[in-house]
Symmetry: C2
Subunit: 189 residues, 2 copies
């Protein structure tokens, strides 16, 4: 049971890689499964063997990108010396940097909420949801206060900043400063 499943993993990974690349370039709706399998150098049969439908393939691609960002934000925050505010700022900076990459902006920020349903993006359930990190930070900085509402607002501001940055790299610095000021006002005032 080694040879077969090994090849299966290779094929599956090739499909996910091709899907991430094409969804980034052309979006979900404008990418056909035929195009994906051509890029992955497999057949449509292979795709529908590994994934129930096109949406499930997108889900796999989305999870791969999401996990990558989550790890980057988490390690950036963890390796930062200083208080909770500094760690929060470090995580925010790492997130904004990630938003400079087309794959993040397209797969994670733009198409994810639509294809998978926007309700999914509002929960804290997902294991690799960056929103969880934000809620933890707010809980630490505002002990005794329900952290979720403010975490939602901050995440919205962060996402919006990410979209602005993704649309125009020149604004990376401005938005980063504005976010930093916002955090200062909220947690050090």
């Amino acid at each position: 049971m080694s040879r077969k499943v090994e090849q299966g993993e290779v094929t599956r990974a090739a499909l996910v890689d091709a899907a991430v690349a094409l969804f980034t370039e052309k979006g979900y709706a404008d990418t056909s499964t035929a195009e994906i399998v051509r890029r992955a150098d497999v057949t449509r049969g292979a795709l529908y063997h590994h994934f129930a439908d096109k949406e499930e393939l997108f889900r796999a691609a989305h999870e791969a990108v999401e996990k990558d960002i989550f790890e980057r934000v988490r390690t950036a925050a963890e390796k930062t010396e200083g208080g909770a505010v500094e760690r929060l700022k470090a995580g925010v900076d790492a997130f904004l940097d990630s938003c400079l990459e087309p794959v993040v902006r397209r797969v994670l920020l733009t198409e994810g909420p639509l294809v998978l349903g926007w309700e999914r993006s509002l929960t804290f359930d997902n294991p690799y949801c960056s929103r969880r990190l934000l809620r933890a930070a707010v809980g630490e900085l505002r002990p005794g206060e329900e952290p979720e509402p403010l975490a939602h607002l901050l995440y919205g501001a962060l996402l919006q900043a990410g979209l602005v940055v993704a649309a125009d790299r020149e604004r990376r610095a401005v938005m980063g400063r504005s976010l930093s000021d916002l955090i200062d006002t909220l947690f050090e005032g």
Copy 2:
């Protein structure tokens, strides 16, 4: 040339109405043009006479909803006595109330950015863009400061609050209070 164009306007309006209703119920991708014309009681020929393609029909539906919200927010802010902070809060409240409606959450918040492109939602160019109102408020409350970055962040927080409210009406009050507190901290601290 009266009888004909008049009938044309009626047909066009029927198409937009049907499109708004169906896009709200089932989303853009899962709504076929056949379904739309059936609901509007016209033929697909009529649809493709008035609109270049399905996306242009969505654009018309989107604009109708957007204009409606814009007017509601603007009048809510204008008819409020008190300072700029109070008017801002009134506008925010009106926006959150609008988000309780499925048509707003679906057509405006969720599908709009994808179908029309998310860059469009980042500009202040659109005549009926609620973001403009927010930028004006920030400019008034923080004179001498470039208003756009903070306006972007606040709009992101507002959108996120709208999504939370749309997903769970019970949170309308909590998110409204959290936003109100945020505005107080930013502009009265």
